[in-house]
């Protein structure tokens, strides 16, 4: 199978819309087909990574748990935008996964290197 570099750009907060969950599902599908997958989180997308989601009250699946399966799918390139964290008063200590933090300009360069960029 041809392997391509896929980047999934996540810009939406979790739960308010279905985008975050849909993105994660497509990431897992692409990874299951052994593609070279990375995930970038910017703008409200960084909230997806905030730890301590307790979704019992709103009766939806907490996908913080599913992030834990990314390693099994060999998805280890998780990029986060520094500016988006700062604007929201977050640091990497607040996040559920180990991530690599980049400036927006550096993320732009990483986007340029991809074969496919999908925005959610």
């Amino acid at each position: 199978m041809t392997t391509k570099q896929f980047m999934f750009v996540n810009r939406k907060a979790p739960y308010g819309t279905i985008y975050a969950w849909e993105s994660l599902e497509v990431v897992l599908i692409a990874a299951a087909f052994e593609q070279d997958v990375s995930m970038a989180f910017l703008d409200d997308g960084v909230y997806q990574l905030k730890k301590g989601h307790q979704t019992k009250g709103i009766e939806v699946k907490a996908f913080e748990k599913t992030f834990g399966a990314l390693e099994d799918y060999d998805v280890t390139k998780i990029y986060v935008d520094q500016e988006s964290l700062t604007e929201r008063g977050l640091t990497t200590d607040d996040l559920a996964l180990p991530v690599e933090v980049f400036s927006r300009a550096e993320l732009g360069k990483l986007m340029e290197e991809q074969d496919v960029v999908l925005s959610f």
Binding site: P14, Y15, G16, K50, G57, V60
Partner: protein
């Protein structure tokens, strides 16, 4: 009037727009609860308006997003029953799209 905001202030201007309407109450639900989280840019805007608005946020939505432990002082937490009470208490209410 009770303004109900369900959009993140970092994504859409609904929260800031509602603040400019003068006075009343603002209930933050769904992604709107991010306006009530400490440390972000929105915190100062909320704090600056506490003399004109009463602020409420839905606990279940704060918990789901992992921010129930960092709510800005001056925001009252409500459950779903409290949400209903607020809607009943105000003569008019508006859900900002």
């Amino acid at each position: 009037m009770l303004h109900i905001i369900n959009k993140s202030p970092y994504d859409r201007p609904a929260f800031y727009s509602a603040l400019k309407t003068g006075e009343g109450a603002i209930l933050l639900i769904e992604d709107g609860v991010y306006a009530a989280a400490k440390g972000g840019v929105a915190e100062a805007k909320l704090k600056a308006a506490t003399d004109k608005f009463k602020f409420y946020a839905l606990t279940a939505d704060l918990e789901a997003r992992g921010i129930a432990d960092r709510v800005v002082d001056g925001v009252t937490l409500v459950n779903y029953a409290g949400f209903v009470d607020l809607v009943a208490e105000y003569k008019t209410n508006q859900s900002w799209l």
